[in-house]
Symmetry: C2
Subunit: 252 residues, 2 copies
Amino acid sequence: MTKRRKKSPVEPEYMEPAMCSTDLRREILQRVPFFAMLPPNAIEQINLRFRERGFTEGEPIFYAGAPAARLYVVATGKVKLMRHTQAGQDVLLDILTAGEFFGSLSLLGNEVYPDSAIAQTIVCALSVGAEAFRAILVDYPAVALAVLDITAARLREAHEAIRQISAHSVEQRIAYTLLKLAEKLGEPREEGLLIQMPLSREDLANMAGSTTESASRIVSQFQREGLIVTGRQWIAITDQGRLRELASAGAD
Amino acid sequence: MTKRRKKSPVEPEYMEPAMCSTDLRREILQRVPFFAMLPPNAIEQINLRFRERGFTEGEPIFYAGAPAARLYVVATGKVKLMRHTQAGQDVLLDILTAGEFFGSLSLLGNEVYPDSAIAQTIVCALSVGAEAFRAILVDYPAVALAVLDITAARLREAHEAIRQISAHSVEQRIAYTLLKLAEKLGEPREEGLLIQMPLSREDLANMAGSTTESASRIVSQFQREGLIVTGRQWIAITDQGRLRELASAGAD
DNA sequence: CGCTGCCTTGATCTTCTTCAAAACGTGTGG
DNA sequence: CCACACGTTTTGAAGAAGATCAAGGCAGCG
């Protein structure tokens, strides 16, 4: 058996919170899926409406329950979307990366954010007031349609997650969660398909709707079975095929 | 203790499948939340693009996995949105009533429906091809924004459901599910706030991510505790307050 | 009536959480 | 460079929650 790698292969995102420089903004906006189809001068117009802000690792971007006034776009880094329960239990709903948006979409008056957004790494985020964003959607109908597509896709994913959670075992859910993460953040490395972000057992458990201990047990088991390689705050997948089998069926 | 009512107080929806008459269509479209703001002549235009179809109780409208070509609007009746697992387990994702839409929103080529839609009662549904709907959204930007709002709201609900399922007990989830159903379909009656639709224990279990037996046990328990009144295929809530406490906290 | 679905109930058994404690890695300060 | 301290991860054992299996009961309907 090869020796387990001790050092995390996850590369930190190099950047200062303040380095969200204005020069890069247009380029970043250009890469946002729902702005990509716009001509440069439109991007220019839109750029004017956004403001930028840096966040350090672990810093909250906004808390659930705060008045929902702005829409954010991740420029660099990873953002956790979390929802809390009375009992202090957290559920990790999604992890967002460069080009993805979060925050207030609807303009319908005085609403509050239903979830908290927390910088998982150093993050630079662009944001725009909800009304201003609404104005953009009105000015550029193609953007509105693109945003709708993305939101509909997220709804499908959420429905899929509901099915997963309510019909599968913890083992299957963890497997599924790892695959989903790898799909989004996976980078091929010697050790396997690395999930390129700091990810604790607790985060994983909160995504799969389970506990830290259970997540740990199952991750260890996966490693013993040769499906993954893992260390502190990182996981790489070595056998996607078998993991996928596990996630969907379980009955074989 | 009052004698339990034996007869279902749920009123069947009176209507023939074929009675989806063309005369009513404009009126129905008018009531659809995202068309409501349009002037009559626009509704007229949109009406031309829709076709109607009736479904009997239990009849599938479309199956998960079929090519997703159309968007549907419920004119009358109730529609179940379900997702299946390999193991034959079903998850009930949502129940849709008059004015709500389902089916294919995205136009992005050759996709398939991720869930099955099944008529829970006799249903009349209007439908439109995905491209035609997209054309409507382009022609009427206000409609696009309204559709986006509704989709975003559904996403929020789905996230809330994920939190519910992953962090609460079956008892709490059933309580929560009943409250949500009552919110949507509740009608005040002598016996309490009646959930106006045929609802089996199995349906309830599939919504709460549990089993028929557990749902039955908990429903019985709720009835013993005086929170609800129930019979075959129907449930009415008598003590919303206590049910709500149960659903959210549980720790008291 | 007797059939066909729903619904209920009990007993068992698996799964997962919980509580508790130890081991490990990582970064820090001496 | 080493040793320490902290947060993360692992592991064990006990317990609870819920699924599963298996009958039996009840209502509505032909």
